[in-house]
Amino acid sequence: MNETRLLAGRDLAMGAEGIAEHVRRLGRLPAAGKSLIDLLARSGLTGRGGAAYPVGLKWRSVAAESHGSAVIVVNGAEGEPHSKKDRLLMTTRPHLILDGAFLAAAALRARQVILYIGEEHYAARQSMSRALAERTAEERRLVRIVAAPARYVAGNSSAAVHLINAGIATPTTTPPSSHERGVDGAPTLVQNVETLAHIAMIARIGQATGTVLITMAGGVNRPGVLEVKTGTTVGEAVALAGGAPEPAQAVLVGGYFGQWIEATQAWALPVDPEALRAHGLTLGCGVIGVLPASRCAVCEVTGIMRYLANESSAQCGPCFFGLRALADACTRIAQRGTDPNDLLRLQRWASEVRGRGGCHHPDGAVMFLQSALKTFAGEFSRHPAHVRRSA
Protein backbone atom coordinates (compact mmCIF):
# COMPACT_ATOMS: atom_id res chain seq x y z
CA MET A 1 0.00 0.00 0.00
CA ASN A 2 2.05 2.92 -1.22
CA GLU A 3 -0.59 5.33 -0.02
CA THR A 4 1.22 5.65 3.32
CA ARG A 5 1.21 9.44 3.19
CA LEU A 6 -0.62 11.31 5.97
CA LEU A 7 -2.70 13.26 3.48
CA ALA A 8 -3.51 10.24 1.33
CA GLY A 9 -7.17 9.55 0.57
CA ARG A 10 -9.72 11.81 -0.98
CA ASP A 11 -9.12 15.37 -2.14
CA LEU A 12 -8.23 17.68 0.74
CA ALA A 13 -10.63 20.32 -0.61
CA MET A 14 -13.52 18.06 0.38
CA GLY A 15 -12.78 18.76 4.05
CA ALA A 16 -12.51 16.36 6.96
CA GLU A 17 -12.48 12.62 6.31
CA GLY A 18 -15.18 10.87 8.36
CA ILE A 19 -14.62 7.82 10.55
CA ALA A 20 -16.16 5.43 8.01
CA GLU A 21 -13.87 6.55 5.17
CA HIS A 22 -10.89 6.63 7.58
CA VAL A 23 -11.49 3.03 8.73
CA ARG A 24 -12.23 1.82 5.19
CA ARG A 25 -8.91 3.27 4.03
CA LEU A 26 -6.67 2.47 6.98
CA GLY A 27 -8.49 -0.17 9.06
CA ARG A 28 -9.45 -0.01 12.71
CA LEU A 29 -7.26 1.41 15.44
CA PRO A 30 -4.38 -1.09 15.93
CA ALA A 31 -3.56 -2.41 19.41
CA ALA A 32 -1.09 -0.36 21.46
CA GLY A 33 1.27 -1.55 24.15
CA LYS A 34 4.88 -1.62 25.05
CA SER A 35 5.58 -3.01 21.58
CA LEU A 36 4.30 0.26 20.07
CA ILE A 37 6.74 2.27 22.20
CA ASP A 38 9.63 0.07 21.01
CA LEU A 39 8.38 0.35 17.41
CA LEU A 40 8.34 4.15 17.68
CA ALA A 41 11.87 4.15 19.09
CA ARG A 42 13.04 1.92 16.23
CA SER A 43 11.27 4.04 13.63
CA GLY A 44 13.45 7.03 14.63
CA LEU A 45 10.40 9.31 14.57
CA THR A 46 11.13 12.74 16.06
CA GLY A 47 8.63 15.35 17.21
CA ARG A 48 7.20 17.57 14.48
CA GLY A 49 6.19 20.43 16.77
CA GLY A 50 9.55 22.16 16.56
CA ALA A 51 11.83 20.62 19.20
CA ALA A 52 12.32 17.38 17.20
CA TYR A 53 12.64 15.32 20.43
CA PRO A 54 12.82 11.55 19.70
CA VAL A 55 9.28 10.22 20.23
CA GLY A 56 10.43 6.83 21.56
CA LEU A 57 12.44 8.50 24.36
CA LYS A 58 9.60 10.84 25.24
CA TRP A 59 7.05 8.02 25.50
CA ARG A 60 9.44 5.93 27.58
CA SER A 61 9.98 8.74 30.08
CA VAL A 62 6.22 9.25 30.47
CA ALA A 63 5.56 5.50 30.61
CA ALA A 64 8.17 5.19 33.38
CA GLU A 65 6.32 7.73 35.52
CA SER A 66 2.72 6.86 34.61
CA HIS A 67 0.82 4.33 36.72
CA GLY A 68 -2.48 4.81 34.99
CA SER A 69 -2.51 8.52 35.81
CA ALA A 70 -0.82 9.99 32.69
CA VAL A 71 -2.37 12.73 30.56
CA ILE A 72 -2.04 13.14 26.78
CA VAL A 73 -2.00 16.70 25.42
CA VAL A 74 -2.62 16.83 21.67
CA ASN A 75 -0.76 20.03 20.77
CA GLY A 76 -2.50 21.83 17.92
CA ALA A 77 -1.69 25.37 19.14
CA GLU A 78 0.41 26.13 16.01
CA GLY A 79 1.55 29.57 17.19
CA GLU A 80 4.18 29.87 14.43
CA PRO A 81 2.87 32.69 12.22
CA HIS A 82 3.45 31.04 8.80
CA SER A 83 2.84 27.42 9.77
CA LYS A 84 -0.41 25.93 8.40
CA LYS A 85 0.30 22.18 8.52
CA ASP A 86 -1.32 21.39 11.87
CA ARG A 87 -4.50 23.19 10.91
CA LEU A 88 -4.64 21.44 7.54
CA LEU A 89 -4.23 18.07 9.26
CA MET A 90 -6.92 18.86 11.86
CA THR A 91 -9.40 20.03 9.21
CA THR A 92 -8.81 17.16 6.74
CA ARG A 93 -7.55 14.08 8.63
CA PRO A 94 -8.82 14.50 12.22
CA HIS A 95 -9.17 10.75 12.84
CA LEU A 96 -5.50 10.16 12.07
CA ILE A 97 -4.67 12.56 14.91
CA LEU A 98 -7.26 11.04 17.27
CA ASP A 99 -5.94 7.55 16.46
CA GLY A 100 -2.47 8.70 17.51
CA ALA A 101 -3.87 10.26 20.68
CA PHE A 102 -5.79 7.12 21.70
CA LEU A 103 -2.79 4.91 20.85
CA ALA A 104 -0.74 7.10 23.21
CA ALA A 105 -3.49 6.95 25.86
CA ALA A 106 -3.48 3.13 25.67
CA ALA A 107 0.30 2.67 25.52
CA LEU A 108 0.93 5.13 28.38
CA ARG A 109 -2.17 4.13 30.40
CA ALA A 110 -3.49 7.70 30.35
CA ARG A 111 -6.79 8.64 31.98
CA GLN A 112 -7.22 11.92 30.10
CA VAL A 113 -6.67 13.28 26.57
CA ILE A 114 -6.73 17.04 26.02
CA LEU A 115 -7.03 18.56 22.55
CA TYR A 116 -5.12 21.82 22.81
CA ILE A 117 -6.14 23.79 19.71
CA GLY A 118 -5.51 27.43 18.76
CA GLU A 119 -8.46 29.51 19.94
CA GLU A 120 -8.60 31.39 16.62
CA HIS A 121 -8.43 28.22 14.55
CA TYR A 122 -12.23 27.77 14.49
CA ALA A 123 -12.30 25.36 11.53
CA ALA A 124 -9.74 23.09 13.21
CA ARG A 125 -11.63 23.09 16.53
CA GLN A 126 -14.90 22.39 14.79
CA SER A 127 -13.46 19.59 12.66
CA MET A 128 -11.80 17.92 15.67
CA SER A 129 -14.95 18.09 17.84
CA ARG A 130 -17.04 16.69 14.98
CA ALA A 131 -14.57 13.84 14.53
CA LEU A 132 -14.61 13.25 18.29
CA ALA A 133 -18.37 12.82 18.15
CA GLU A 134 -17.84 9.96 15.69
CA ARG A 135 -15.58 8.04 18.12
CA THR A 136 -16.72 5.41 20.62
CA ALA A 137 -18.30 6.51 23.91
CA GLU A 138 -15.33 5.05 25.79
CA GLU A 139 -12.91 7.15 23.71
CA ARG A 140 -15.04 10.30 23.98
CA ARG A 141 -15.15 10.05 27.76
CA LEU A 142 -11.37 10.54 27.92
CA VAL A 143 -11.27 13.72 25.84
CA ARG A 144 -11.81 17.44 26.41
CA ILE A 145 -10.90 20.40 24.21
CA VAL A 146 -8.94 23.39 25.55
CA ALA A 147 -8.36 26.57 23.52
CA ALA A 148 -4.75 27.73 23.21
CA PRO A 149 -4.23 31.51 23.28
CA ALA A 150 -2.93 32.85 19.97
CA ARG A 151 0.59 33.71 21.15
CA TYR A 152 3.92 32.30 20.04
CA VAL A 153 4.89 30.71 23.41
CA ALA A 154 1.42 29.23 24.01
CA GLY A 155 2.48 26.10 22.09
CA ASN A 156 5.44 25.49 24.42
CA SER A 157 4.66 22.26 26.27
CA SER A 158 5.10 23.73 29.76
CA ALA A 159 2.94 26.71 28.74
CA ALA A 160 0.24 24.33 27.49
CA VAL A 161 0.32 22.43 30.80
CA HIS A 162 0.33 25.73 32.73
CA LEU A 163 -2.73 26.96 30.84
CA ILE A 164 -4.59 23.69 31.40
CA ASN A 165 -3.67 23.70 35.11
CA ALA A 166 -3.83 27.37 35.98
CA GLY A 167 -5.42 29.09 32.99
CA ILE A 168 -2.26 31.04 32.05
CA ALA A 169 -0.28 30.07 28.94
CA THR A 170 3.19 31.09 30.14
CA PRO A 171 6.11 28.66 30.21
CA THR A 172 7.17 27.34 33.61
CA THR A 173 10.57 26.41 34.89
CA THR A 174 11.87 22.96 33.99
CA PRO A 175 12.76 20.67 35.71
CA PRO A 176 10.28 19.35 36.50
CA SER A 177 9.43 18.65 32.84
CA SER A 178 5.85 17.87 31.87
CA HIS A 179 6.93 14.21 31.52
CA GLU A 180 7.41 14.11 35.28
CA ARG A 181 4.79 16.57 36.53
CA GLY A 182 2.30 18.01 34.04
CA VAL A 183 -1.47 18.34 33.97
CA ASP A 184 -2.84 18.05 37.54
CA GLY A 185 0.69 17.06 38.52
CA ALA A 186 0.43 13.83 36.55
CA PRO A 187 3.05 12.66 34.02
CA THR A 188 2.00 14.32 30.76
CA LEU A 189 2.85 13.68 27.12
CA VAL A 190 2.60 16.86 25.05
CA GLN A 191 2.71 15.77 21.40
CA ASN A 192 2.22 17.71 18.18
CA VAL A 193 -0.77 16.75 16.02
CA GLU A 194 1.41 15.83 13.01
CA THR A 195 3.58 13.61 15.19
CA LEU A 196 0.45 11.80 16.44
CA ALA A 197 -0.72 11.34 12.83
CA HIS A 198 2.67 9.77 11.98
CA ILE A 199 2.32 7.51 15.04
CA ALA A 200 -1.12 6.37 13.87
CA MET A 201 0.44 5.41 10.50
CA ILE A 202 3.54 3.76 12.00
CA ALA A 203 1.30 1.62 14.28
CA ARG A 204 -0.36 0.34 11.08
CA ILE A 205 2.52 0.00 8.60
CA GLY A 206 5.28 -0.86 11.08
CA GLN A 207 7.64 1.85 9.88
CA ALA A 208 7.81 5.60 9.39
CA THR A 209 5.85 7.08 6.49
CA GLY A 210 9.08 8.68 5.21
CA THR A 211 7.20 11.94 4.64
CA VAL A 212 6.99 15.28 6.42
CA LEU A 213 4.50 18.13 6.29
CA ILE A 214 6.06 21.47 5.44
CA THR A 215 4.59 24.92 4.88
CA MET A 216 6.05 26.82 1.95
CA ALA A 217 5.99 30.57 2.63
CA GLY A 218 7.33 33.84 1.22
CA GLY A 219 8.50 34.13 -2.41
CA VAL A 220 6.73 31.09 -3.92
CA ASN A 221 3.80 31.11 -6.34
CA ARG A 222 1.63 28.71 -4.32
CA PRO A 223 2.46 29.10 -0.62
CA GLY A 224 0.89 26.46 1.59
CA VAL A 225 1.27 22.98 3.06
CA LEU A 226 3.05 20.19 1.17
CA GLU A 227 3.61 16.58 2.21
CA VAL A 228 7.01 15.62 0.80
CA LYS A 229 9.27 12.58 1.00
CA THR A 230 12.06 13.30 3.49
CA GLY A 231 14.69 13.13 0.71
CA THR A 232 13.14 16.04 -1.20
CA THR A 233 15.40 19.06 -1.52
CA VAL A 234 14.30 22.62 -0.76
CA GLY A 235 14.60 23.45 -4.46
CA GLU A 236 12.25 20.59 -5.37
CA ALA A 237 9.82 21.73 -2.66
CA VAL A 238 9.87 25.26 -4.10
CA ALA A 239 9.07 23.77 -7.51
CA LEU A 240 6.19 21.79 -5.97
CA ALA A 241 4.94 25.12 -4.59
CA GLY A 242 4.75 26.58 -8.07
CA GLY A 243 8.34 27.80 -8.22
CA ALA A 244 9.68 31.20 -7.21
CA PRO A 245 8.26 34.21 -9.12
CA GLU A 246 11.67 35.95 -8.82
CA PRO A 247 15.14 34.73 -7.90
CA ALA A 248 15.57 34.12 -4.17
CA GLN A 249 18.47 35.47 -2.09
CA ALA A 250 18.03 33.17 0.94
CA VAL A 251 15.75 30.61 2.54
CA LEU A 252 14.61 30.54 6.19
CA VAL A 253 14.56 26.84 7.10
CA GLY A 254 12.47 26.02 10.22
CA GLY A 255 10.43 29.18 10.67
CA TYR A 256 11.19 31.88 13.24
CA PHE A 257 13.25 29.46 15.33
CA GLY A 258 15.01 28.23 12.19
CA GLN A 259 18.03 29.55 10.34
CA TRP A 260 18.80 31.56 7.22
CA ILE A 261 20.66 29.79 4.41
CA GLU A 262 21.91 31.49 1.27
CA ALA A 263 19.61 30.49 -1.64
CA THR A 264 21.89 28.36 -3.82
CA GLN A 265 23.15 26.43 -0.78
CA ALA A 266 19.60 26.05 0.54
CA TRP A 267 18.24 24.73 -2.75
CA ALA A 268 20.25 21.53 -2.36
CA LEU A 269 19.36 20.96 1.32
CA PRO A 270 17.23 17.83 1.98
CA VAL A 271 13.95 18.48 3.84
CA ASP A 272 14.72 15.86 6.47
CA PRO A 273 14.99 16.44 10.24
CA GLU A 274 17.99 14.10 10.73
CA ALA A 275 19.89 15.28 7.64
CA LEU A 276 19.33 18.93 8.56
CA ARG A 277 20.56 18.31 12.08
CA ALA A 278 23.77 16.98 10.54
CA HIS A 279 24.16 20.43 8.93
CA GLY A 280 23.54 22.09 12.31
CA LEU A 281 20.10 23.10 11.14
CA THR A 282 16.59 22.15 12.19
CA LEU A 283 13.38 21.60 10.25
CA GLY A 284 11.60 22.92 13.34
CA CYS A 285 7.90 23.44 12.71
CA GLY A 286 8.39 22.74 9.01
CA VAL A 287 8.14 26.29 7.64
CA ILE A 288 10.34 26.96 4.60
CA GLY A 289 10.43 30.72 3.96
CA VAL A 290 11.86 31.91 0.63
CA LEU A 291 13.25 35.47 0.69
CA PRO A 292 13.13 37.07 -2.79
CA ALA A 293 16.23 38.96 -3.94
CA SER A 294 14.22 42.19 -4.16
CA ARG A 295 13.39 42.25 -0.43
CA CYS A 296 15.75 43.87 2.09
CA ALA A 297 17.07 41.09 4.29
CA VAL A 298 17.89 43.43 7.19
CA CYS A 299 14.37 44.83 7.26
CA GLU A 300 12.84 41.33 7.12
CA VAL A 301 15.06 40.11 9.96
CA THR A 302 14.26 43.24 11.96
CA GLY A 303 10.52 42.69 11.59
CA ILE A 304 10.80 39.10 12.80
CA MET A 305 13.12 40.05 15.70
CA ARG A 306 10.63 42.69 16.80
CA TYR A 307 7.85 40.07 16.71
CA LEU A 308 9.93 37.58 18.71
CA ALA A 309 10.83 40.27 21.26
CA ASN A 310 7.15 41.15 21.70
CA GLU A 311 6.30 37.46 22.14
CA SER A 312 8.57 37.16 25.18
CA SER A 313 6.39 36.25 28.15
CA ALA A 314 8.42 38.82 30.19
CA GLN A 315 9.12 36.30 32.94
CA CYS A 316 12.89 36.33 32.52
CA GLY A 317 15.07 39.45 32.28
CA PRO A 318 17.66 38.18 29.80
CA CYS A 319 14.89 37.19 27.33
CA PHE A 320 12.62 40.22 27.69
CA PHE A 321 15.34 42.90 27.85
CA GLY A 322 17.79 40.96 25.66
CA LEU A 323 15.44 40.34 22.73
CA ARG A 324 14.12 43.90 22.96
CA ALA A 325 17.67 45.29 22.85
CA LEU A 326 18.51 43.03 19.88
CA ALA A 327 15.34 44.13 18.05
CA ASP A 328 16.12 47.80 18.84
CA ALA A 329 19.65 47.43 17.46
CA CYS A 330 18.30 45.76 14.30
CA THR A 331 15.76 48.57 13.94
CA ARG A 332 18.49 51.21 14.25
CA ILE A 333 20.53 49.45 11.56
CA ALA A 334 17.46 49.03 9.35
CA GLN A 335 16.18 52.59 9.69
CA ARG A 336 19.30 54.66 10.27
CA GLY A 337 21.97 52.58 8.61
CA THR A 338 24.76 50.44 10.09
CA ASP A 339 26.61 51.67 13.18
CA PRO A 340 29.58 49.34 13.89
CA ASN A 341 28.81 49.56 17.63
CA ASP A 342 25.36 48.13 16.98
CA LEU A 343 26.93 45.21 15.12
CA LEU A 344 29.25 44.54 18.07
CA ARG A 345 26.33 44.85 20.51
CA LEU A 346 24.26 42.41 18.42
CA GLN A 347 27.06 39.82 18.59
CA ARG A 348 27.65 40.30 22.33
CA TRP A 349 24.02 40.42 23.39
CA ALA A 350 23.11 37.43 21.22
CA SER A 351 25.81 35.29 22.85
CA GLU A 352 24.86 36.56 26.33
CA VAL A 353 21.12 35.97 25.95
CA ARG A 354 21.38 32.43 24.59
CA GLY A 355 20.62 29.71 27.14
CA ARG A 356 19.55 32.18 29.83
CA GLY A 357 15.78 31.91 29.57
CA GLY A 358 13.25 29.87 31.50
CA CYS A 359 12.18 28.31 28.19
CA HIS A 360 13.81 28.11 24.74
CA HIS A 361 12.20 31.26 23.33
CA PRO A 362 15.40 33.35 23.60
CA ASP A 363 17.52 30.47 22.28
CA GLY A 364 15.38 30.13 19.14
CA ALA A 365 15.33 33.88 18.55
CA VAL A 366 19.11 34.16 19.01
CA MET A 367 19.81 31.24 16.66
CA PHE A 368 17.57 32.91 14.09
CA LEU A 369 19.44 36.23 14.47
CA GLN A 370 22.94 34.72 14.50
CA SER A 371 22.22 32.83 11.28
CA ALA A 372 20.96 36.11 9.76
CA LEU A 373 24.11 37.94 10.87
CA LYS A 374 26.15 35.22 9.18
CA THR A 375 24.11 34.78 5.98
CA PHE A 376 23.48 38.52 5.52
CA ALA A 377 26.83 39.70 6.91
CA GLY A 378 27.32 42.04 3.96
CA GLU A 379 23.85 43.53 4.15
CA PHE A 380 24.10 44.09 7.90
CA SER A 381 27.57 45.64 7.78
CA ARG A 382 26.79 48.14 4.98
CA HIS A 383 23.07 48.71 5.40
CA PRO A 384 21.87 52.20 4.32
CA ALA A 385 19.01 53.98 6.10
CA HIS A 386 15.74 52.37 4.99
CA VAL A 387 12.58 54.07 6.06
CA ARG A 388 10.49 51.19 7.37
CA ARG A 389 8.60 49.80 4.34
CA SER A 390 5.87 47.16 4.48
CA ALA A 391 6.13 44.42 7.02
Partner: protein, 76 residues
Protein backbone atom coordinates in the same frame (compact mmCIF):
# COMPACT_ATOMS: atom_id res chain seq x y z
CA UNK B 1 33.50 9.85 42.80
CA UNK B 2 34.15 13.45 43.71
CA UNK B 3 31.14 15.44 44.83
CA UNK B 4 31.06 18.61 42.78
CA UNK B 5 28.34 21.26 42.62
CA UNK B 6 27.27 23.79 40.05
CA UNK B 7 25.16 26.93 40.50
CA UNK B 8 21.79 26.83 38.77
CA UNK B 9 19.37 29.75 38.52
CA UNK B 10 15.61 29.60 38.09
CA UNK B 11 15.29 32.26 35.40
CA UNK B 12 11.60 32.83 35.99
CA UNK B 13 12.06 33.49 39.72
CA UNK B 14 15.19 35.64 39.27
CA UNK B 15 14.38 39.37 39.16
CA UNK B 16 17.88 40.75 38.78
CA UNK B 17 18.61 42.03 42.30
CA UNK B 18 22.34 41.49 41.71
CA UNK B 19 23.43 40.35 45.18
CA UNK B 20 24.81 37.09 43.79
CA UNK B 21 27.28 38.88 41.52
CA UNK B 22 28.38 41.08 44.40
CA UNK B 23 28.99 38.14 46.72
CA UNK B 24 30.53 35.73 44.19
CA UNK B 25 32.15 37.78 41.41
CA UNK B 26 34.46 34.83 40.70
CA UNK B 27 31.56 32.91 39.19
CA UNK B 28 28.79 35.43 38.50
CA UNK B 29 28.66 38.71 36.58
CA UNK B 30 25.66 40.78 35.55
CA UNK B 31 24.50 41.47 32.01
CA UNK B 32 23.54 44.92 30.79
CA UNK B 33 20.09 44.58 32.43
CA UNK B 34 21.29 43.40 35.81
CA UNK B 35 20.65 39.69 35.44
CA UNK B 36 23.25 37.06 36.41
CA UNK B 37 25.54 35.38 33.90
CA UNK B 38 26.87 32.27 35.66
CA UNK B 39 30.18 30.69 34.66
CA UNK B 40 29.81 27.15 33.37
CA UNK B 41 31.01 24.08 35.18
CA UNK B 42 31.39 22.92 38.74
CA UNK B 43 32.25 25.36 41.56
CA UNK B 44 35.85 25.13 42.78
CA UNK B 45 35.91 23.76 46.34
CA UNK B 46 37.34 26.92 47.88
CA UNK B 47 34.32 28.90 46.61
CA UNK B 48 31.66 26.50 47.91
CA UNK B 49 31.07 28.38 51.17
CA UNK B 50 30.48 31.61 49.25
CA UNK B 51 28.29 29.73 46.74
CA UNK B 52 26.23 28.41 49.63
CA UNK B 53 25.89 31.94 50.97
CA UNK B 54 24.82 33.24 47.57
CA UNK B 55 22.07 30.62 47.43
CA UNK B 56 20.82 31.61 50.91
CA UNK B 57 21.15 35.36 50.35
CA UNK B 58 19.29 35.46 47.05
CA UNK B 59 16.28 37.66 47.89
CA UNK B 60 13.93 35.47 45.81
CA UNK B 61 15.65 32.09 46.33
CA UNK B 62 16.19 31.68 42.59
CA UNK B 63 19.64 30.13 42.95
CA UNK B 64 20.45 26.54 43.82
CA UNK B 65 23.46 24.30 44.08
CA UNK B 66 23.00 21.14 42.09
CA UNK B 67 25.29 18.17 42.44
CA UNK B 68 27.28 17.34 39.33
CA UNK B 69 28.33 13.68 39.34
CA UNK B 70 31.89 13.56 38.11
CA UNK B 71 32.84 9.93 38.24
CA UNK B 72 36.27 10.20 36.70
CA UNK B 73 38.86 12.84 37.56
CA UNK B 74 38.77 14.13 34.01
CA UNK B 75 35.15 14.98 34.34
CA UNK B 76 33.58 17.04 31.54
Amino acid sequence: MTKRFELRVDRIKCDGRGLCAEILPERIRLDDWGYPIIAEGPIPDHLLPLAQRVVEDCPVLALGLRRVESRTRSSR
